[in-house]
């Protein structure tokens, strides 16, 4: 990007209702608003500065494993109470994206999904079995696996049911965590699945792989062998430390870009087969019932999608003026090419700045400057990936599949900004 030209001043409106030019994120340009350098937006003087207590006494000691500041206790996962108190651990907890920034989700805030609770697995006793249509069935201990060459990649995981609350006729008063919180992104490290399959010797008749967890539900899914030989990883580490129990300790499958549940946690078994097993979760659950009487089956990649995390419900705007619109974009089919934002409910869009690095099958942070005039506004974001696929409008999305699908909702989402500064989930 070149330097800002004089005929494109900061505050240049590039789309309706106050969307400003993204150049302020791309250039070394200080915020010098219409009021001029040195003038406060509120017109008020700051309070006199006192030296606080913590600057006048020693601080705390070292800790074995650090925790966030106790002032940040509200930054936490949330979950709905179980339908049956006798079966806890059935369901999911959600990432508080409205309170986070960047693209890596802290491991303790990664969304959780389990079908029969989180198992407490002894890594010494855990085994991975590779069998079926292979020349030689093999068993690996974690010690065995830890000796293989490792690779790392940053990848998002999104539950197929994320944003499912938008598969309704009427918009519900929910926040970004409740609607879109089954989404997280980590730096995963492990062994290429292809290495292990090569060692077992893939029979040419093998077309699918059944992956199974060691949890009480024996969560299992079939996936194409092409994915196994492409970019699948058997993960030991998440964000630099061993995978957390809720995310599959001591071993999880990573199928970058594929719907969350296929990335089988607590991985204990991979069986090469000639056809899908038709497990409970690939027939009765993660299938998309259309308007007509058919359901799409084996919908693997998460298609291009974006959400605005700030402003969003619960983050009330403090009067008219400058705001940064910030959010996340991702595609299970590749890299984000562009994100556009709108403040007038999709009548006009302007491109947002993409925060580097922009990685394939990973979350990308976008930012756009916005001058709120205090009037009605509807904020939207629309992502395009490098396959050319554009995130659909809600009308396009509903026209294709109706509202019975439950899974893979990826239409453009809307927050309406009320005159009191509150944000509200709406359909626009």
């Amino acid at each position: 990007m070149g330097r800002r030209r004089k005929d494109q001043p900061f505050g240049e409106h590039v789309a309706g209702n106050g969307i400003l030019n993204r150049r302020i994120f791309l250039e070394r340009t200080l915020l010098a608003g219409a009021a001029g350098i040195g003038a406060s937006a509120s017109g008020a003087l700051a309070e006199p500065l006192a030296v606080p207590r913590w600057s006048k006494e020693p601080g705390g000691d070292f800790t074995a494993y650090g925790q966030p500041s106790h002032f940040e206790s509200k930054v936490a996962r949330t979950w709905a109470p179980p339908a049956n108190p006798a079966t806890p651990g059935v369901g999911s907890s959600r990432t508080p994206h409205h309170l986070l920034d960047g693209t890596i989700t802290p491991s303790g805030l990664h969304y959780e999904r389990s079908h029969s609770g989180v198992p407490d697995i002894d890594p010494e006793q855990h085994r991975l079995l590779v069998h079926g249509l292979v020349k030689q069935p093999l068993v690996f201990s974690l010690e065995d696996l830890s000796r293989y060459p490792r690779t790392s990649r940053i990848a998002f995981l999104e539950c197929a049911g994320n944003s499912g609350a938008l598969y309704t006729a009427q918009a519900q008063p929910l926040n970004v965590q409740a609607i879109h919180g089954l989404l997280s992104c980590s730096d995963w490290t492990g062994v290429k699945l292809s290495t292990l399959l090569d060692e077992a010797g893939v029979d040419p008749r093998a077309k699918w792989v059944l992956a199974e967890g060691a949890d009480a539900s024996g969560m299992s899914r079939s996936f194409p062998i092409a994915k196994a030989l492409d970019d699948a990883l058997v993960c030991l580490y998440q964000n630099g430390e061993r995978v957390r129990p809720a995310n599959g300790y001591p071993l999880r499958l990573l199928l970058p870009g594929f719907e969350g549940n296929m990335n089988v946690k607590w991985l204990r078994r991979l069986k090469l087969v000639d056809a899908p097993i038709m497990t409970k979760d690939e027939t009765s659950k993660y299938t998309i019932l259309l308007k007509e009487d058919k359901a799409w089956q084996f919908v693997f990649p998460i298609e291009v999608k974006s959400i605005i995390t700030r402003p969003s419900p619960g983050l009330t705007l403090k009067g008219p003026g400058f705001y940064e619109i910030s959010g996340l974009a991702w595609s299970g089919n590749g890299r984000i090419r562009q994100v556009e934002v709108s403040a007038d409910g999709g009548q006009s869009f302007a491109p947002a700045a993409l925060q580097e690095p922009v990685l394939p099958k990973a979350l990308t942070r976008f930012r756009a400057p916005w001058q709120w005039n205090g009037g009605p506004a509807v904020l939207q974001s629309r992502a395009t990936d490098d396959t050319g696929m554009v995130q659909p409008s809600r009308a396009q999305f509903v026209a294709e599949r109706g509202l019975r699908g439950n899974y893979h909702y990826n239409a453009v989402a809307s927050w309406r900004i009320e005159q009191n500064g509150e944000a509200l989930n709406v359909f626009a």
Binding site: A86, H131, L138, V139, F140, R147, S217, I277, M278, Q297
Partner: protein
């Protein structure tokens, strides 16, 4: 299996498979340990839609009703009508266009083999993998009978279960954008 038998099996396997670790000729790590079909059998619990993997044994509807009352009903309701957990029975016709779908084993599941697979691996919730294979056949028969899929006098086993035609067997379509262009 006695030690001698185990040795004989391993030896046979190695002779059949020249790529086994002891004989690896390439520079790949080869840290996986060979395992015999017999020794991995306890983990090989997935059941294909053609019935591949179904164990010996059988169960009747009456036996299944007794298992269901004792071990399933508290979560899945009387006669599988649901609450507090998933509904297993009913919903026939609700998959049709513009209806509010009630997805149950009877209205939505395409394969009866899936029922055996899931019940055996995951149910009952508090004691998964505790049912005998006969009990799993029996409780599958009971749930299918409640859904009107099989008659009350039918017996399920490895031969009959894969032949059960589920009402929504043809209710699924391939995702049109896969594989990607």
């Amino acid at each position: 299996m006695c030690l001698l038998e185990r040795f004989a099996l391993c030896a046979a396997t190695i002779m059949l498979v020249p790529a086994a670790p002891a004989m690896a000729a390439d520079d790949a790590p080869h840290f996986g340990k060979p395992v015999t079909a017999q020794d991995l059998a306890a983990w090989d619990i997935s059941i294909g839609p053609d019935g591949a993997g179904l164990p010996p044994g059988k169960g009747t509807v009456a036996q299944g009703e007794a298992v269901f009352s004792a071990k399933c009903q508290a979560c899945h309701g009387e006669k599988g009508e649901g609450r507090p957990n998933d509904r297993l029975v009913g919903g026939a016709g609700t998959i049709a266009p513009d209806k509010a779908p009630v997805k149950t084993v009877g209205s939505y599941w395409p394969y009866a083999t899936t029922l055996f697979d899931y019940v055996r691996r995951a149910m009952p919730w508090d004691r998964p993998k505790s049912l005998t294979d006969d009990e799993v056949y029996a409780v599958a028969a009971y749930i299918l009978t409640l859904n009107g899929v099989i008659g009350a006098d039918e017996v399920l086993d490895a031969q009959s279960l894969p032949k059960v035609k589920m009402p929504n067997r043809d209710g699924f379509a391939a995702f049109p954008r896969w594989p990607p262009k």
